[in-house]
């Protein structure tokens, strides 16, 4: 089993906790209590290796409070994270700007090239159907373009209907597996003693000197 740390970031009430709950418990509440501080959850998925074997991946999910002032606690969240889900609300234009700020911060502060950043537009259910098209405030093409420019993964989901949520985590899991498998194999070989690998290989530190915040 592989274990990865995943953090959720994004403006308040874009649906971070709802996405996690859809993924972990497959439930949805129209009104969910605002998250204070952080919440930890975990969920496993299966991905496929090259030789068609199933590999179990466990996500340790850190769900965070969205309000700006909690940002000061953020470094604790994303320290050692393997993946970040940056969420915005497709009906709130400003939430994409907040998401972009998070992406910037992650790129500046997390000195890990392998960090998988997935930009997610939530609440697409609100603008489904011809009546509701005007509710959309962020065009999918716009966000997608941004994601491509920044080298992020991107998709739109609905925590309410469940549309696309599992796929996001599946894609992250697959990507993480693909990037880490070689590292793992090397380490296992290098270690020699079958099974017990030293996994405490220090990773690039968060917030190292390459980080630049202009």
């Amino acid at each position: 089993m592989l274990q990865f740390k995943l953090v959720l970031l994004g403006d308040s009430s874009v649906g971070k906790s709802s996405i996690v709950h859809r993924f972990v418990k497959d439930t949805f509440d129209e009104l969910r209590e605002s998250t204070i501080g952080a919440a930890f959850l975990s969920q496993t998925i299966k991905v496929e290796s090259e030789d068609q074997q199933e590999v179990v991946i466990k996500f340790e999910i850190w769900d965070t409070a969205g309000q700006e002032r909690y940002k000061s606690l953020a470094p604790m969240y994303y320290r050692n994270a393997n993946a970040a889900l940056v969420v915005y609300d497709v009906t709130q234009e400003d939430s994409l700007n907040k998401a972009k700020a998070w992406v910037e911060e992650l790129k500046n502060k997390v000195g890990d090239e392998d960090l998988v950043i997935f930009l997610v537009g939530n609440k697409v259910d609100l603008c489904e159907g011809s009546d509701n098209e005007d509710k959309r405030a962020v065009a999918a093409t716009l966000a997608k373009q941004y994601a491509e420019d920044q080298g992020l993964m991107f998709d739109e989901v609905s925590a309410k209907t469940g549309h696309g949520v599992k796929e996001v985590f599946q894609a992250i899991g697959q990507r993480l597996y693909d990037t880490k498998k070689e590292e793992l194999a090397t380490r296992q070989r290098g270690n020699g003693n079958d099974g017990q690998v030293d996994i405490n290989v220090p990773r690039p530190s968060t917030n190292d000197t390459t980080g630049c915040c202009s």
Partner: protein, 684 residues
Amino acid sequence: MAPQSFTNRLAMIKSPSVPNFAGSDPRSKKVECDHISDPRLLSALTLELSDARNSAVLSNLQIGKDHLESRDNSSSNLSVLDLYNDNIDDDDVNLPGGKEGSSGSIGSEINLLGHELNLLSTTPEVDPDDADSDNHRDDEDDDGDDNSIDQNRPKETPHVNESSKVSGSREISLEDQYDEYGFKKQSNYADTEVYNRWSQEYSECCSRRRFKWRQLMQKHRISTDGSSVPLVFPPKNEKLKRYVRKGIPAEWRGTAWWYFAGGQETLDANIGVYDKLVKKVEKIQRGHKAEKYSKVLSDMEIIERDLNRTFPDNVHFQKNDTSSGEEPEMITSLRRILVGFSIYNPKIGYCQSMNFLAGLLLLFLREEKVFWMLVIITSRYLPGVHNVNLEGVNVDQGVLLLCVKEYIPELWAQIKPTCEQTVLSTRGKRPVKNEFLYRLPPITLCTASWFMSCFIGVVPIETTLRIWDCMFYEGSHFLFKISLGILKLSEHKLNMNKHRGRGSPLNKFYQHGDSSSGERVDRLYGEDESDIEMFQVIQSFPKSFIDVNDLFDRTIFKKRASFNNLDQEEIDRCRKYVQTQRNKYKEFVEHKDVRGGDSRQIGEQTRATSVSNAPKSKGVVPSTAPSSPSLRKQHGKSGTLRDDTDLRTVLGREDYGFKRSLTNGNWNNGLKQKMRQMRKKRDK
């Protein structure tokens, strides 16, 4: 209560602080007019009554006052009150039943559950301290001569009522989905059945306590006749403290909190202030001086998003199905309070978690009082905690860590590596003394919310209320005490999990819960599996403390639990120490930045932080050290060493010294341990 002049009290009655009764208040007149012109007169009136609140407390208080003040201006009030009192007797409460669905707070799936309730009631304690635990079961204490239970006395339940219906007092039947405060009984951690089993026993305990409280009050000649709620309480002493720790009767809670927190003094010093704020809020809502209030406006946006996410499981905060989308009165009040507060205290503005504080208070107190209680909590009990830079949270977390280090060394042994790891992975240097104060370990992400929301959502509601009773009576140090108590229990829990077959270091990589499956877990980052487990236990375990008496017996009432020696003075001193140290650290970083050119941008960050009112400045990372990067900069080796030495000099060598009492038997844990070891050796 502080003696107040007659005019003062009169002013209070006249002031809109009592909007529903004071005939002299223009706003309230308007409300009455609305009622008359409203075709649904009756329902509107009841709505107002229910607003009168939320509490029989208010009406009773009002009755009490009217008596005291010799019917000066109360004739118009009385009619309403009479009606209200009539209504109280009608027990026609129909709760919106059958509502299934989500339960509560963002729990955690965590597979550890299920066992936990059992654990609470059955686990034999392993701590040697526990042998002499001083369990105060309900009746053992006190005078001993008053154990008779007044069976005939009508059972009072709090005044809280269904949103648009007056329900004064009502019994909660087993079929009800909601408890007496309107919260959903069922949660991830206890289903309705478990809840009912506990609550039956607990309500008996409550009526015993209520009886004792009445006796105590009688001794002090404070009237508690009928359903009247006392306006004053006896002077503070050990006995009263014990009474409070065993729970204030639910229907007295509002006035008791108000009294112990000194709410009236604050209100008296600020007569009319809230009313002005409310007017300002209305103006701002209409777009008045938008530029001047841009900060308030941005707070309003966040408040608006949070209003319906405040206790969505509580009936009083839910939209009434029948009233076609009308906003619950609670939500309207909550908005006024929070926006008003944002204007009143720009240093804080609005901080998520204040919605819960105000929301819970609204179940027990009227709007204006809730506002002042919020002012008191955020300034006196939790100074700085909700500030824009959250520095107060960080200080309190530092204090908590120092306390854990001092009082729960076994848990500290588990937290410590995560602190060191934080330092190593980010700095690769030798840590300075108590570095964890400046780079808080991740566990504080969990415990921070305990303080920010004063345990709302952290523990079950009855437990939260008990903690609030004690917090208002004893002061903020109680939050640290109960936190330590909970952490201590969590530590037992963690140990038990370990003993369930994952004690050996070889098992380090196995996922908890399915260690038997023998699957290996590869972690690609440095955190040990046990960290995550620790987070999960500390996050979810407290939610299972449904039996508040049991929790208190195992923590607060345990005389030998050393952390019970903590007092307010100690916590204040410790807060000051942590604050000073953190400031020194911050200053050092800034100062260094002035000297060394290469860390200029870091200085900018830190400065921006101290200005702190910069919600827009991205990447600003205040005080929380993990991000303050200058110390992490890879200087030349000598530079690093010098900086480290300098920093050590600046911070000083002195550790925080907890005061020790010679009498409590815990004055020297180190020595005690040594004695134990010596004895062991000798026995061998």
